[in-house]
């Protein structure tokens, strides 16, 4: 007869240190908490090693026979090539400053998501095979042998680090867990362990215009639709040119802004701004993906996808590149693009054709962020803005991890927001949750697959918690951000933790507020929602059509 457990037994309460050490605790792959394995067709298409059908839930991951040699040789190779890896393996003093800073630890309560312990998953292997103490003393020196279980543990936890770098802000040595995650994922990929969400996006981007696998025709069709929508809502047709040689500026955005709401409204905002300025720009159907999921699996793949930017800029003969609101795209462009695919000596140092401002920060990689560009326009009084058109939007601003911690972009988006919404409509979240200390959305670095929802909601909980605070205290009803992954993943995250919170891009609000000469009276925003003061007119109109 089965023994019926007491509630205490069911709860498994224990304040005692675990009987087993962390090395002996194996991860349990529960549905909703792991990323699916990549299908072989993408691995083959990208010419990555060991394409095969395998499943995370299977005991046998069908690793290649020499998987151990591949990992150890790969580790050694990377220790030689990446000084960061060598340093980060050696210099951690276990001070614990990072331990409670990762949102995946905070939200899941799983100690192996403490950055110090997540890094230890790799360090223990480093010690065993690359240090004398580890070789001699083994477990006593924090070393352990490389086994299939270790590989499974890497897979589980390196795909629970969203490469957001929050922990590195608190580390006195600046140890960057994201760098370790990137290199660890590369090693996993070298034995054919990739995740479907990333691999399918990368494969699609390698073959067509972007991550979602659209054809150039479908892409053009979509953007033409935004131009038509702009005309319908604002009366202004926003002219777009594609692949136009000789344009001054090449404009690149992440695919999230042209295929999924609410990013699409942001795209309408971009087009309105450029039309207002009469900007000499073009959109490419080749360099049509700002995001770079290749960067989430290996440096090599990141470089391969990023190459489209400069190749296209050169082919079209533009002077510089303007980029839309994306997160990791900016980490890639600011920190990697010049070394990967530069020097971009065929481009010019970016200068705003409207204000004459030289973007000296972009001197090297020749690419300017739309928020820098727009903030500069506002600062020089080049935009006529009517904040009352955003009066229905009471918002808080989420600093997306990569633009904030990766490039220090804190002030520009806030400056724009303050100029496009009425005074008092912008409320900051508490200081320990914004700017360089911002919490991740919980879905960066290839986590936005629907199979991963529970884990994403754990990682996103600290962010949602701060949003809830400003909703409850100040009546905030919109969460603004400058990242396409944010715009894709916040709506479901908010729906679970903070219902009633809309998600909005900064450029969408610019589009709402821009006052064109001789424009028609606007009664709605870009989403067809009535402006403050026009609610009744909308209702009446709605009533007539019913």
């Amino acid at each position: 007869m089965a023994k019926i457990p007491t509630p205490e037994e069911v709860s498994n309460i224990s304040f005692q240190p675990p009987a087993k050490g962390w090395m002996d605790t194996k991860p349990e792959f529960k549905e909703g908490c792991y990323c699916n394995a990549a299908s072989p067709k993408w691995v083959e298409w990208l010419e990555y090693p060991f394409p095969r059908n395998w499943s995370v839930r299977d005991a046998d991951w069908k690793l290649p026979p020499n998987w151990k040699e591949i990992i150890l040789e790969g580790f050694e190779d990377r220790l030689g090539r990446f000084r960061t890896l060598k340093l980060f393996m050696d210099i951690c003093v276990r001070c614990g400053a990072c331990s409670d800073k990762c949102q995946f630890f905070i939200g899941s309560g799983d100690p192996k998501n403490m950055p110090v312990l997540r890094a230890e998953l790799m360090r223990s292997i480093y010690r065993r095979y690359f240090t004398t103490a580890g070789k001699v003393l083994g477990k006593l020196a924090g070393a352990r042998p490389l086994t299939e279980d270790v590989i499974k543990e890497w897979y589980y936890y390196l795909y629970q680090c969203s490469e957001c770098r929050r922990c590195s802000v608190f580390c006195p040595y600046g140890i960057d867990m994201a760098d370790l995650t990137i290199l660890g994922r590369e090693m996993l990929s070298s034995i054919g362990l990739n995740i479907e969400w990333t691999m399918a996006s990368v494969g699609s981007c390698y073959e067509t215009v972007g991550h979602i696998g659209a054809t150039p025709q479908a892409y053009k069709d979509m953007i033409d639709f935004f131009a038509e929508e702009n005309e319908r809502v604002t009366g202004i047709y926003t002219n777009v040119t594609y692949n136009r040689k000789g344009a001054e500026i090449l404009f690149i955005v992440p695919s999230g802004d042209y295929f999924a709401d609410p990013g699409t409204f942001n795209y309408m905002g971009y087009l309105l701004l450029f039309e207002y300025l009469g900007l000499d720009y073009t959109i490419s159907t080749y360099a049509a993906e700002g995001g770079n999921f290749g960067y989430f699996m290996s440096h090599e793949m990141g470089k391969r996808l990023n190459a489209k930017f400069y190749e296209e800029a050169k082919r079209l003969g533009v002077k510089w590149i303007l980029g839309g609101e994306c997160g990791h795209m900016w980490r890639v462009c600011n920190q990697y693009m010049s070394t990967w695919n530069g020097p971009a000596d065929f481009l010019e140092e970016p200068v705003s054709p409207i204000t004459g401002t030289k973007f000296e920060n972009a001197k090297n990689h020749k690419m300017v962020h739309i928020s820098e560009f727009t903030a500069d326009l506002i600062k020089h009084g080049k935009l006529k803005l009517d904040p009352s058109r955003n009066a229905h939007i009471k918002l808080t601003y989420h600093d997306s991890c990569n633009p904030s911690r990766g490039m220090g972009l804190f002030e520009e988006p806030r400056y724009i927001i303050k100029n496009v919404v009425p005074e008092g409509n912008f409320i900051e979240m508490p200081p320990n949750t914004i700017r360089e200390k911002t919490f991740c959305c919980g879905s960066g670095s290839g986590f936005n697959g629907d199979e991963y929802l529970e884990m994403r909601f754990r990682g996103g909980f600290p962010r949602a918690n701060a949003v809830r605070y400003v909703r409850d205290k100040y009546g905030v009803n919109h969460l603004a951000c400058i990242c396409a992954i944010d715009r894709a993943v916040f709506p479901p995250l908010m729906d679970y933790w903070v219902p009633g919170m809309d998600v909005i891009g900064v450029s969408e609000m610019v589009g709402n507020a821009l006052v064109f000469p001789n424009e028609m009276e606007r009664t709605t925003d870009l989403r067809d929602r009535p402006l403050v003061g026009y609610e009744e007119a909308e209702e009446e109109e709605g009533g007539e059509t019913e």
């Binding site: 709860s11 309460i13 409670d100 939200g107 605070y469 894709a488 479901p492």
Partner: protein, 173 residues
């Protein structure tokens, strides 16, 4: 002394112990964090659990509107519904209060008074806890159903721009 008076008088200690037991359902390293870090934004699991427990205790010793009661349950269960807990583990914390109260009674009276004298009141109190647990199952199910609805919505919203273009109606919330 009536049990209800005891429960009111020892509210802080009972709530604290109940909360600690809930924290004890996490890994030992995590328990330290949950107990140590007091800032509600740095430690939202502990804060929200604490707030929920306070509310539930008030509901047990006084009456509470159904909505408010469900909200208190939801504060805790919506976290546990997406963490590494089975359905039973996600709601088992509700029953833990039974032993907490008995522990506190034993500790307070230290044999001077037999706990048996509260037996009828304890039975009534336990019934309220059982009722609370049943409501907890509802909250848990609502959260899991919500999760699956969100998953469905997410799949739709991935192509929402395209659907909007083709004239098909879709919410972008």
């Amino acid at each position: 002394m009536k049990l209800i008076d005891f429960l009111r008088e020892h509210e802080a200690a009972i709530v604290q112990r109940w909360c600690d037991l809930i924290f004890g359902t996490y890994a030992p390293e995590t328990v330290q964090f949950l107990k140590r870090v007091k800032n509600r934004f740095d430690n939202p699991v502990a804060y929200q659990t604490n707030e929920g427990v306070k509310g539930l205790y008030r509901a047990l010793i006084d009456d509470m509107e159904a909505d408010q009661l469900n909200n208190c349950l939801d504060e805790i269960i919506r976290i546990r519904a997406i963490q590494d807990f089975s359905a039973a583990q996600a709601v088992a914390f509700i029953f833990l209060i039974k032993n907490v109260v008995r522990e506190q009674l034993r500790e307070h009276f230290k044999g001077e008074v037999r706990i048996d004298q509260f037996s009828q009141e304890l039975f009534d109190f336990d019934c309220r806890i059982d009722g609370l647990a049943l409501l907890g199952f509802n909250v848990y199910m609502n959260r899991r159903e919500k999760l699956h609805k969100i998953r469905l919505e997410e799949v739709k919203s991935k192509v929402s721009g395209l659907l909007r273009k083709t004239g098909m109606s879709i919410d972008y919330h």
